[in-house]
């Protein structure tokens, strides 16, 4: 296992974040983690619907990046970006209903996981077809640009998805039009069973930026403050009219592609290496070391989240699925 560059052992302290914000970051990451754990349990209990795609290991990337946006900036998250949803103020109940296709779910049961769209939070989830939302995100901010609104879109793609043609067409269009788009490539070392060296042959996926004449950088995606700072800079550059940025955030998919997959194809030492860099544990330890939170406080936060999660599950699981007839509705909006 080779890494494109040496990681720093410690968290790269951000100069912008206040301690209150640091706590928020941790809370979002913990929520993502606990949500994940809950969904995993549901899957094993046979109570989930469809595939369950763990975000374990992706907390710092999803949370740190989304945290760099303003409320008016659209977010285009992927399947493992639950943390980003929490940053946007999405609650557990909403996500859980959606994952389990229960009545009152954001997508009425038409689709699951984090695929939902919500104008009120400017969240625009993904379709399964990888890469398809990159041009959509570009178009979204193109509209704002045409109207003189200074929004910035943040979109995500995997180390696998970055090979899809949509990536190319969208990043190229965005660079030509200098669109305010930040693309996070979540390089978590695997695309389903396929390791990165069977997905691409360049040193860093951020090198793709050179071919579009835009900024590109590869960072440690397990350091939430580094992710935040890097994204913040990219967001500011974008807002100032300097166009898109590609940020490759390195991390590890700590579970299988989905819960059915035992990921036996992943070398043990690779998981061990990344386990050392667990984004949540590392950040918690750093917060304690820096006197920002105590271990007890963190335990307390975790406990509250767990309780909320469990209560929520108990409620949502009991809800019925939507009426069958819903299936025939809404193919078109009113014209």
């Amino acid at each position: 296992m080779t890494l494109p560059f040496e990681f720093s052992e410690t968290i790269q302290r951000s100069d912008i974040l206040r301690d209150e914000q640091r706590k928020e970051l941790l809370v979002h990451m913990l929520k993502a983690r606990e949500f994940d754990a809950a969904m995993g349990r549901m899957y094993r209990q046979g109570r989930a619907l469809g595939g369950v795609y763990s975000q374990l290991g992706n907390e710092a990337t999803a949370v740190g990046s989304a945290y760099a946006l303003e409320a008016n900036d659209p977010l285009f998250p992927m399947h493992r970006d639950i943390g980003a949803h929490f940053v946007r103020g999405c609650d557990i109940d909403t996500l859980m209903r959606n994952h389990l296709a229960r009545v009152g779910s954001q997508m009425r049961g038409t689709d699951g996981t984090g695929h939902y769209g919500d104008h009120s939070k400017k969240i625009y989830g993904n379709v399964s077809h990888l890469g398809a939302m990159i041009p959509v995100a570009a178009g979204y901010v193109l509209a704002d640009k045409m109207r003189g609104t200074k929004s910035v879109a943040m979109n995500y793609i995997g180390d696998g998805g970055a090979q899809v043609g949509d990536f190319h067409e969208a990043m190229n269009l965005a660079s030509v039009q200098k669109l305010p788009l930040v693309l996070i490539i979540e390089n978590n070392q695997y695309a389903y069973s396929t390791p990165t060296d069977e997905q691409f042959a360049c040193d860093k996926l951020s090198d793709r930026a050179i071919g579009y004449g835009i900024e590109g950088v590869t960072i440690d995606g397990t350091d939430v403050e580094l992710v935040f700072d890097t994204c913040r800079q990219a967001v500011e550059r974008a807002r100032a009219g300097h166009g898109p940025t590609i940020i490759e955030a390195l991390s590890m998919r700590m579970r299988g592609h989905a819960e059915h997959d035992d990921a036996s194809y992943v070398p043990k030492d690779m998981l061990e290496y990344w386990q050392q860099r667990d984004p949540v544990d590392r950040y918690a330890a750093w917060l304690i070391d820096n006197g920002i939170l105590t271990a007890d406080e963190i335990d307390g936060i975790r406990k509250v989240i767990k309780e909320e999660m469990n209560e929520c599950i108990d409620t949502v699981v009991e809800l019925p699925m939507p009426d069958p007839e819903e299936g025939g509705k809404g193919v078109f909006v009113a014209s």
């Binding site: 659209p74 997508m107 009425r108 038409t110 689709d111 695929h115 939902y116 769209g117 919500d118 104008h119 625009y124 379709v127 399964s128 077809h129 398809a132 939302m133 990159i134 041009p135 959509v136 995100a137 570009a138 178009g139 979204y140 901010v141 193109l142 509209a143 704002d144 045409m146 109207r147 043609g165 949509d166 067409e169 969208a170 190229n172 269009l173 030509v176 039009q177 809404g330 193919v331 078109f332 909006v333 009113a334 014209s335």
Partner: protein, 323 residues
């Protein structure tokens, strides 16, 4: 009313809708200063600065960006330089645009328009009639205008619609077909057939370029005292089943005609509706006239053979009437 060509009517609709609504804009290849390969958007770039956007050659990016901007309050009109190139952005339509209302309850008010169809020695890659692919994709509306007034009115309706609309222009009609077109704002509702010729012996159900060939066939048939009603369905989605049935119930015979290839073409859908709902009214089998199941060839001789011609319509009509 003013006499306009089919292509003028399309340009006019674009201009009027851009004037009427700031959120309407155009994107595509060579659409700005150059005015597009067929000059449909000529002059709009100057009149509406910043609202006619040249893109790189990237149909996926064009369609994806159209979707994104539509989600964000705009009404994009995406030009495909030739409709054939929509295959390069097919996924954006088949999976993103078409499912957004269903999944998110959000409208995607966008129009995809461009020249389709054969008869110009365009060869396999500049002649395709692909409307059936989209008619079979729930969540997309599909429009195939045949006359200048409809071209104008249906495009305006498409632009104002809150859903994704595939608008198929027929390039062979661009400058060959003229007609009276209402001046100023003009819309034509979706989902209503237009009876373009009344008749009593046979209903020809058709759309797009074949409306004109069907009308010519009807004239020839009239010489043999066969009275043909020609029904232009205009929109494939939504589909005016009642409008079609009304005509068939009157004439008791139907012939379905389109330029696209036959196998699994939209004509089959029309036949299926008639067979299901007007079975008792039928005095003869419903037949189809369509292109041979082949790519559209380049050589004029071969192209004429592959694409349906007036004479093919005449013969099929005679067969149905003579049954």
């Amino acid at each position: 009313m003013a006499e306009q060509t089919y292509i003028q009517a399309i340009s006019d609709a674009l201009e009027i809708e851009m004037k009427r609504d700031d959120s309407v804009y155009i994107l595509g290849e060579d659409v700005a200063e150059f005015g597009g390969a067929f000059k449909v958007t000529r002059g709009l770039h100057e009149k509406y600065p910043g609202r006619v956007i040249n893109t790189p050659i990237s149909e996926t990016a064009i369609l994806g960006a159209a979707i994104g901007s539509a989600l964000n309050g705009m009404r994009p009109v995406a030009e495909m330089q030739f409709m054939d190139f929509v295959t390069n952005g097919f996924n954006q339509l088949a999976n993103v645009a078409s499912t957004t209302s269903y999944r998110w309850g959000m409208g995607v008010p966008m129009v995809v328009r461009g020249p389709s169809g054969g008869g110009t020695s365009g060869g396999p890659f500049h002649s395709r009639n692909s409307e059936a692919w989209f008619a079979h994709t729930p969540g997309l509306k599909v429009v195939c205008p045949a006359f200048p007034d409809d071209a104008k009115g249906l495009l305006a309706t498409a632009i104002r619609d809150n859903n994704p609309v595939m608008y198929f222009e027929h390039k062979a009609l661009y400058r060959s077909i003229k007609g009276e077109v209402p001046e100023g704002e003009h819309t034509v509702p979706f989902g209503e057939v237009r009876v373009v010729r009344e008749g009593t012996d046979l209903s020809i159900i058709t759309y797009g370029s074949m409306v004109h060939k069907s009308l010519k066939a009807a004239e020839k048939l009239a010489e043999n005292n066969i009275s043909v009603e020609v029904v232009d369905i205009r929109t494939l989605v939504p589909f005016d089943e009642e409008g079609v049935l009304r005509s068939v119930r009157k004439t008791n015979r139907a012939l379905v005609v389109h330029e696209a290839t036959s196998h699994a073409g939209f004509g089959a859908e029309i036949v299926a509706r008639i067979t299901d709902k007007a079975f008792d009214a039928l005095d003869a089998p419903v037949k189809r006239v369509a292109a041979l199941d082949a790519p559209t060839p380049f050589a004029k001789t071969m192209e004429e053979f592959v694409l349906p011609q007036v004479e093919d319509v005449v013969q099929a009509a005679e067969a149905v009437v003579g049954y």
